[in-house]
């Protein structure tokens, strides 16, 4: 099988600021044309990593490769990157045309070609008639489109986006999310996107890199990191999870049974039981949307049904978040609402399917989890 070329590679890259290690030995490949998102809470090292790739920070150790070439010692202005900032950073004293043309001026492109490429870039971001305006005459969303046009007009090897949507208000942010994705697809340019917003990460990415405390917690497709979180941190950071401790009661080829402390026995998918033995300690996670509430469930072989009582309801319109007590355990469940939500004090049955029970890697659990709160 042909190896796909890597736009960016990190080999054991480390960044220290004095005593503080911002990024621990990080290795990562970003394949050509893919959209990769670094997501994590502030201070997790995602922006520092992006800045190292951009050349705005020097890596303390390890190598950074862009298109197979080691760039550690190449200054930023010779790296051919497109960089977009949270606060747009359009040059306030230059017109939109001058802003977008800026990078081309340093690339020995003749005037006619500059004019044509600027026009094409502005068309791509759907703002064709603003060439003569100054940045402050545009709205935030428009400014961010111009910043994107300025970054892509130079045909960079990689597009680096540092929280580009965070300064926009909610509606505009979702619109720009779709727009950004469309442009990235159209150009087929490798893109690294930094965000603290899990919804952005899941919606936009081909691959998600979840970071915490300078470590990669998990890397995978949005579905992988969402459905099969590798650690407590990931389980908590992307959505709401019910986390429990327990011990393995049975780990055979076709069933895995776990005794949850202070609670019921849960079944898990056989893939989760790999390498587990009877008596092993286990941490497990069940997503809140995978805890199905009903007044009555039909019994089946692959799920466990528990009795519970609704403690509190957080009504969200199309769905509701329920806080449920079942035995000694508190559960959270996010269920779509059919007509009326359950009410406080109502007795319900919780159904937990084996396929939704994820056993967390005990070696990784705890790393950064306390901070997730």
């Amino acid at each position: 099988m042909a190896q796909q070329a890597n736009a960016v590679e990190l080999h054991n890259t480390v960044k220290r600021f004095g005593e503080f290690t911002a990024v621990h030995s990080m290795s990562l490949n970003v394949t050509d044309g893919s959209f990769v998102t670094f997501v994590g809470p502030s201070g997790c090292g995602k922006t520092t990593t992006l800045r190292m790739i951009a050349g705005l920070e020097n890596a303390t150790a390890g190598d950074i490769l862009i298109r197979g070439q080691r760039v550690n010692d190449i200054p930023i202005h010779k790296r051919n990157l497109g960089l977009v900032f949270q606060n747009y950073a359009l040059f306030p004293h230059k017109t939109i045309f001058e802003n977008v043309a800026f990078g081309l001026k340093y690339r020995n492109v003749d005037k006619q070609t500059i004019a044509r490429r600027v026009r094409e870039a502005l068309q791509l971001v759907q703002l064709p008639h603003v060439e003569d305006r100054l940045p402050r005459q545009l709205s935030g969303g428009q400014q961010q489109r111009i910043a994107l046009a300025r970054a892509i007009v130079i045909q960079p090897d990689v597009l680096l986006l540092d929280e580009p949507l965070s300064a926009l208000d909610a509606n505009l942010r979702e619109e720009m999310r779709v727009e950004l994705k469309r442009i990235q697809r159209e150009l087929g340019i490798a893109t690294i996107f930094v965000t603290h917003d899990q919804a952005e990460a899941l919606a936009m990415s081909d691959r998600v890199v979840v970071m915490s405390n300078g470590f990669i917690e998990q890397e995978g497709t949005p579905e992988e990191v969402y459905n099969e979180p590798a650690s407590e941190f990931v389980a908590n950071f992307l959505g709401i999870s019910n986390l429990m401790s327990g011990s393995v009661e049975d780990a055979s080829a076709d069933t895995v049974k776990i005794a949850v402390e202070g609670g019921p026995h849960l079944l898990a998918h056989p893939r989760e039981g790999r390498g587990k033995h009877k008596g092993d300690r286990a941490r497990l996670a069940v997503r809140a949307e995978k805890v199905f509430l009903a007044e009555q469930h039909a019994a089946d072989d692959d799920s466990v049904i528990i009795d519970g009582t609704i403690d509190a309801v957080d009504y969200q319109g199309q769905a509701a978040r329920y806080f449920v007590t079942a035995g000694n355990l508190s559960w959270q469940a996010v269920n779509p609402i059919d007509r009326h939500p359950f009410h406080e004090g109502q007795a319900v049955k919780l159904r937990i399917r084996a396929q939704d029970v994820v056993l967390l890697d005990p070696a990784r659990s705890g790393n950064g989890a306390e901070q997730a709160g």
């Binding site: 705005l56 202005h77 950073a89 306030p92 004293h93 990078g103 690339r107």
Partner: protein
């Protein structure tokens, strides 16, 4: 009966009167046609301005002062911008100490500064010359430029420069294409400050000027020792124009530029 507020009003008026009446008197008397620069005025005339223009010593002093002021402002501003970039954009050991040392000439009494520079020169056994005078003026205008430019530079987000670098402009190209234009209001203000301070200065200048060289303030000082000629009133009026009107209009220009380049 006077209420509290009218007392405050009266006080304010008196303070302003005290501050500006002498200036107004000088300007008024500069148009007096009488031989003696005193009230009552005999008539209006530009006589003293004409005599001023015909006085070689004064014209020479003017030329010296303007040349000195321009050179001081250009050198001070160039150094000040470079120093501010270092202080604001880079981290290096001893930065705070250096920054304080750069501002220190404001705090040291000018006489002390003047004498020490003179003694230093003697120690090097160099004669007094125009270069020394220029050097002295640069030393004590530099802090003002640094303060003005640093304040503005702190407000210019680093992202502008980082964006320019990422687009392929080298560090020097980035400075001239992005940083300097955004810094321009502060650069102009700094230059005006430096020029005005240099043009006004007498303490240091008296110590540093080589024999035979006079600036406008030292020339006035010398003339006053002989007699109070009405010419001095005319000279005073011209000085006021240069040191007040010039900076004020400059500041207004800088504000307009700042508004234009603001986001």
């Amino acid at each position: 009966m006077l209420s509290g507020w009218s007392l405050i009003r009266l006080g304010t008026v008196l303070v302003y009167l005290f501050m500006f009446a002498p200036v107004a008197v000088v300007i008024l008397l500069s148009f007096n046609s009488s031989q003696f620069g005193a009230f009552p005025m005999e008539g209006l005339s530009f006589r003293w301005f004409v005599e001023l223009a015909n006085n070689d010593a004064i014209v020479r002093a003017f030329k010296t002062s303007i040349l000195l002021g321009i050179l001081t402002s250009v050198i001070s501003t160039t150094l000040g911008v470079m120093a501010s970039l270092a202080m604001v954009r880079y981290e290096f050991p001893g930065k705070n100490l250096l920054n304080t040392a750069l501002i220190a000439p404001i705090l040291i009494p000018e006489v002390v500064l003047a004498v020490s520079l003179l003694l230093f020169l003697q120690f090097l056994s160099m004669p007094k010359n125009f270069l020394l005078l220029l050097l002295g003026h640069v030393i004590f205008t530099l802090p003002f430029v640094v303060l003005v430019v640093q304040a503005r530079l702190v407000g210019i987000k680093k992202e502008y420069e980082e964006a320019a670098l990422s687009l392929g402009a080298g560090p020097i190209q980035t400075f001239f294409a992005v940083t300097l234009p955004l810094l321009m209001p502060a650069v102009l203000a700094g230059m005006l400050f430096a020029f005005t301070i240099s043009f006004d200065d007498i303490t240091g200048t008296l110590f540093w000027k080589p024999p035979g060289v006079e600036t406008v303030p030292t020339q006035i000082f010398a003339m006053l020792r002989i007699s109070i000629s009405p010419e001095i009133n005319a000279l005073g009026a011209v000085m006021i124009i240069i040191t007040v009107v010039l900076p004020l209009s400059g500041a207004a220009l800088a504000r307009r530029l700042a508004r234009r380049s603001a986001e």
